[in-house]
């Protein structure tokens, strides 16, 4: 019984929480309609969560930095939205129905995946900072292309008039968004908890060893990049349905960074962390925009930045280590479940392959005694020799 509970929390907890939110949300919306601003916030959250999930695949699990993720999203938003409009016009429909939406999602995902393939094919031979710069450039190129596109077809600088379901009940889009989150979660989580996921994390941990163990590094990197881009495209289509008009300027560098912040704050390589931090940051952003109006609007970015800095300090400052260990979510949950502290469980938990140690744990891993040990025994100059630098 206990074991099955543990396996349930490990595999299905996030599905059930999101499913519960979906049910609660639908009931509330049906009984008493929410304010439009509230529904809009929920729409933003669904888009942000899908984006954070898809980026965490590249940044958290593959270990490559991509700064152009908004570019893939805007491709999904523009091309998916456009195809929906075309179908609506051709079919003489008044507004989009669910079938048109599905077609739009598929087309948006496919186009974004194609772009992901092209960018990945050319850029994944670079690594680290260089890949980040190429993806950054890609995002900007896409933005500029759509801004200067033909006003007749893509709306140019004014933005694309986006399709809609033509209903008063805007909350339907939120429900669709949550279903899409569940789908994204299903694909990404299953991908990572499989053979391919193991290969991906192996590449992140040690690319040289992965190659020597027979993992096809290029193939796996490309696969992750394409899947991630496809889900960014899905988020883009959802975005185009929620916002009218779709402006290319929305998907700028800042937006890419915002998603990256979600992934990093959620903990690199943690799926649930990415979801939670995507929700929190979107709410924070939205609240700040609503509270600070008029002349105070200039302070929005300032407060946002200060809050982010505080979160980072809380997460990483060595001085707060004791405080963190005392008051964290896990202890809180244990208190509720009346669980006794069991040291063996912690070691088991640490062995969870899909969770990278937090910064603090990393610091412990990299603490001086081990480093000295490694240098003393392993001979670091061997690294240089292996690359042929000294020869």
């Amino acid at each position: 019984m206990k074991k099955s509970l543990k396996s349930f929390t490990k595999h299905y907890l996030n599905y059930s929480v999101i499913g519960a939110i979906l049910i609660v949300f639908s009931i509330i919306s049906l009984v008493s309609p929410m304010k439009t601003s509230m529904v809009f916030l929920f729409q933003q959250i669904t888009v942000a969560v899908i984006m954070a999930l898809s980026l965490s695949l590249v940044v958290g699990f593959l270990g490559e930095l991509s700064l152009g993720h908004a570019g893939f999203m805007s491709i999904g938003a523009y091309l998916g939205g456009k195809i929906a409009l075309v179908i609506i016009e051709a079919g003489d429909l008044k507004s989009s129905n669910i079938l048109v939406f599905i077609v739009a999602v598929l087309v948006g995902a496919a186009c974004a995946a194609l772009c992901g393939f092209i960018v990945g094919f050319a850029a994944l031979r670079l690594r680290g900072d260089y890949l980040a710069i190429v993806t950054l450039a890609f995002g900007e190129i896409v933005r500029v292309i759509f801004t200067h596109s033909d006003p007749e077809s893509f709306g140019g600088a004014l933005g694309l008039k986006s399709p809609s379901f033509g209903m008063k009940e805007t909350f339907v889009l939120v429900i669709i968004g949550i279903l899409l989150i569940l789908f994204t979660l299903f694909v990404i989580q299953n991908l990572l908890r499989s053979k391919a996921g193991r290969a991906i994390t192996a590449i992140r941990d040690n690319e040289i060893a992965a190659k020597a163990t027979g993992i096809n590094v290029t193939k796996h990197k490309l696969m992750v990049f394409v899947i991630s881009a496809a889900f960014a495209g899905v988020a883009g289509v959802l975005f185009s349905y929620a916002n009218s008009p779709v402006k290319a300027d929305t998907f700028d560098y800042n937006y890419s960074i915002e998603i990256l912040v979600m992934v990093v704050l959620g903990g690199m390589g943690s799926i649930n962390g990415s979801i939670i931090s995507a929700v929190l940051i979107t709410v924070l952003n939205n609240r700040l925009t609503t509270i600070l109006t008029g002349d105070n609007a200039v302070f929005k970015d300032l407060f946002y930045a200060v809050i982010l800095i505080l979160i980072v300090i809380y997460n990483n400052a060595p001085g707060l280590k004791g405080f963190r260990e005392k008051y964290n979510l896990k202890n809180f949950m244990n208190k509720i479940l009346k669980k006794k502290h069991d040291p063996s469980e912690i070691t088991n938990d640490a062995a969870r392959w899909d969770v990278v140690p937090t910064k603090i744990e990393m610091n412990e891993v990299l603490s001086t005694d081990i480093v000295v040990d490694k240098v003393g025994r392993g001979d670091d100059s061997a690294d240089i020799r292996e690359r042929g630098g000294n020869k």
Binding site: F121, F186, V187, N190, L191, S194, K195, A196, G197, R198, A199, T201, A202, R204, D205, N206, I208, A209, A210, K211, A212, T213, G214, I215, N216, V217, M223, G269, T347, N348, A350, A351, R352, W353, V356, P357, V365, D373, K374, G376, R377, G378, D379, D380, A382, D383, R385, E386, G388, N390, K391
Partner: protein, 281 residues
């Protein structure tokens, strides 16, 4: 403009490496190198190395620092491509194969400075090694949709990994993170991972580096065990001459990228040239 087109052509050519005509020869040896050599610019790092390793043999590669031993390993595993000569594994030419292909076709290696997948558990480290074998084939789509085959394969892989870990005495620690293992066990885990790829030839790069005498003894037993149990051929680099003479059937001594002597450990290590290289006149 023409220059630009040339550079694009070169880039595309790099993306699709051209097929090298590889030949097969009749050979009684597991590994046979033929004048193997590489130069970086004008520097000849390794030249005309001729190794002939029989099946089930433990073969040693020794030499002073910078003699080119690890470079030979890098040539054999496809990290570098030889600029001269070629080499055969069971008569099949391997020159020009990329690293992962070399591994698929039967050469596995360990590294001088341990390279494990530190943030993964011990058993998953070994399971990565099993990734490419035909009996554990499972497409990404099957895994994502959680078809029955996915679960079957996962279970099979885990069982096999456990078996391998059991041989190395690591079964108890299979759920620990690889980086939390003590040094000697990390070495063993690296060897287990290499063996999981089901190689014909195992390359060990300084397996006894940084070990105390007890651990070294233990490692010698382990290597013999691997040879007997897996019917394996092993080529190893080592500085510890006691280790080499106690373990290796035959050795080759390298210095400045060339072969100084070869033969049984006793013969080769007593060769006047070798003594000169190690101790001086």
């Amino acid at each position: 403009m023409a220059k630009f087109i040339d550079s694009v052509k070169k880039y595309v050519k790099d993306l699709f490496p051209q097929k090298i005509q590889r030949k097969t020869i009749e050979s009684d040896y597991v590994l046979e190198t033929e004048n193997l050599g590489i130069s970086f610019g004008g520097l000849k790092a390794v030249q005309s190395v001729n190794l002939k390793i029989k099946k089930n043999e433990i073969y040693g590669l020794v030499g002073p620092n910078g003699a080119g031993k690890t470079t030979v390993f890098n040539l054999l595993t496809g990290v570098y491509q030889p600029t001269e000569g070629t080499f055969y594994l069971s008569g099949e030419e391997f020159r020009g194969l990329p690293q992962e292909q070399t591994n698929h076709k039967g050469i596995a290696r360990t590294f001088q400075n341990i390279r494990l997948f530190n943030n993964m558990s011990v058993v998953r480290n070994v399971m990565v090694g099993l990734h490419n074998q035909d009996e554990y084939k499972c497409t990404v789509l099957e895994s994502v949709l959680r078809l029955p085959r996915h679960f079957r394969i996962e279970k099979k892989m885990r069982e096999r990994a456990k078996e391998l870990l059991d041989i190395f005495g690591l079964k108890e620690e299979r759920n620990n993170l690889a980086c939390n293992l003590p040094y000697g066990k990390q070495r063993k885990l690296e060897i287990a991972r290499a063996l999981a790829t089901n190689p014909k030839l195992l390359l060990l790069d300084e397996p006894a580096a940084g070990m105390n005498p007890n651990e070294t003894e233990d490692l010698m037993d382990t290597i013999r065990l691997i040879r007997d149990k897996f019917d394996m051929t092993i080529l190893l680099i080592e500085h510890d001459l006691k280790f080499v003479s106690g373990l290796c059937d035959r050795i080759t001594v390298l210095n400045f990228g060339t072969v100084l002597a070869e033969g049984t450990a006793e013969e080769a290590l007593n060769d006047p040239e070798v003594v000169k290289a190690y101790i001086g006149n």
